[in-house]
């Protein structure tokens, strides 16, 4: 399996723990589905934990961007947690690093939603 996704609640924040590869196909589809479902269910505060994500391609970046905009359009906020060096580099190269609110520590990220 290319990607594994689990969700949990910390207060009113929905934390999405992602591990594996977010690439075109199963990985990007799973990301699209979970973010669409969470938004449809009315979740307004979503923290995407990418600390166990080993690889993202341009399709995966596309899903992050689409998720970011669709959550925002629904009146919510999507933030990122725990980027690996390679994922961080990728977001910097594509000038998306400053678009997202990125955190290194979960507790700090959770507090930032308040």
């Amino acid at each position: 399996m290319s990607v594994k996704i689990d969700t949990r609640k910390v207060g009113d924040v929905t934390v999405v723990d992602v591990s594996g590869r977010i690439t075109l196909g199963e990985g990007s589809s799973a990301m699209r589905d979970i973010l669409r479902d969470l938004t449809a269910q009315g979740n307004k505060k979503i923290l995407l934990n990418l600390s166990e994500v080993s690889y993202i391609d341009s399709s995966g970046i596309g899903e992050l961007v689409s998720g970011f905009t669709s959550v925002a359009n629904a009146g919510g906020t999507l933030k990122l947690l725990g980027l690996t060096k390679r994922v961080k580099d990728l977001l910097q190269i594509t000038k998306l690093y400053t678009v997202f609110d990125v955190h290194e520590e979960e507790a700090h990220a959770i507090r930032s939603f308040a």
């Binding site: 075109l24 391609d57 341009s58 596309g62 899903e63 905009t69 990728l90 594509t94 000038k95 998306l96």
Partner: protein
């Protein structure tokens, strides 16, 4: 066959040239994974370190996705021709699809503020970010040839 074509195009007589891969893949996402895996092995054999292998792998993945998805449009009657060789310190990957072809200039700049939040359109940009040279050639009557080059000496 690939190295003969390369030599003919550039008029270089290179006695140190080595062919590492020459394969035609069906137009499926499995081919993307397979080509990435095989080229990563070739890059490792060529002496690239782990970080450079990762960059080469990402460029290959983006290029293969373009060929399979946008070029051949998953048409199982069309193939993606991948060849890899080294010559004069250059690790050269050539990926050719059988699609309608596209011009490099047709691809919008993904870093432009109007395009920053677009869902797609970053593949070619990432290839350029991760490789030393990238060239795109629209073939006649159809198809696109993308050549990716990484200088071997750079990782030494």
């Amino acid at each position: 066959m690939y190295l003969i074509q390369l030599t003919a195009k550039s008029d270089i007589v290179d006695t140190g040239a080595k062919e590492l891969l020459d394969h035609k893949y069906p137009s499926t996402l499995d081919s993307v994974d397979l080509a990435e895996t095989e080229i990563l092995k070739a890059a490792g054999d060529a002496g690239f370190d782990e970080d450079e292998q990762h960059r080469i792998g990402m460029a290959v993945r983006e290029c293969m996705v373009n060929a399979v998805v946008h070029g051949n449009r998953y048409n199982r009657n069309k193939q993606v021709h991948v060849s890899v060789g080294t010559a004069e310190g250059r690790f050269t990957i050539r990926i050719v699809d059988e699609g309608e072809g596209f011009e490099d200039s047709d691809v919008p700049d993904p870093l432009h503020e109007n395009n920053l939040l677009r869902h797609s359109g970053r593949g070619l940009f990432l290839m350029r970010a991760f490789m030393d040279e990238v060239s795109v050639r629209k073939l006649s009557p159809s198809g696109t040839e993308v050549t990716l080059v990484k200088n071997v000496a750079r990782s030494e």
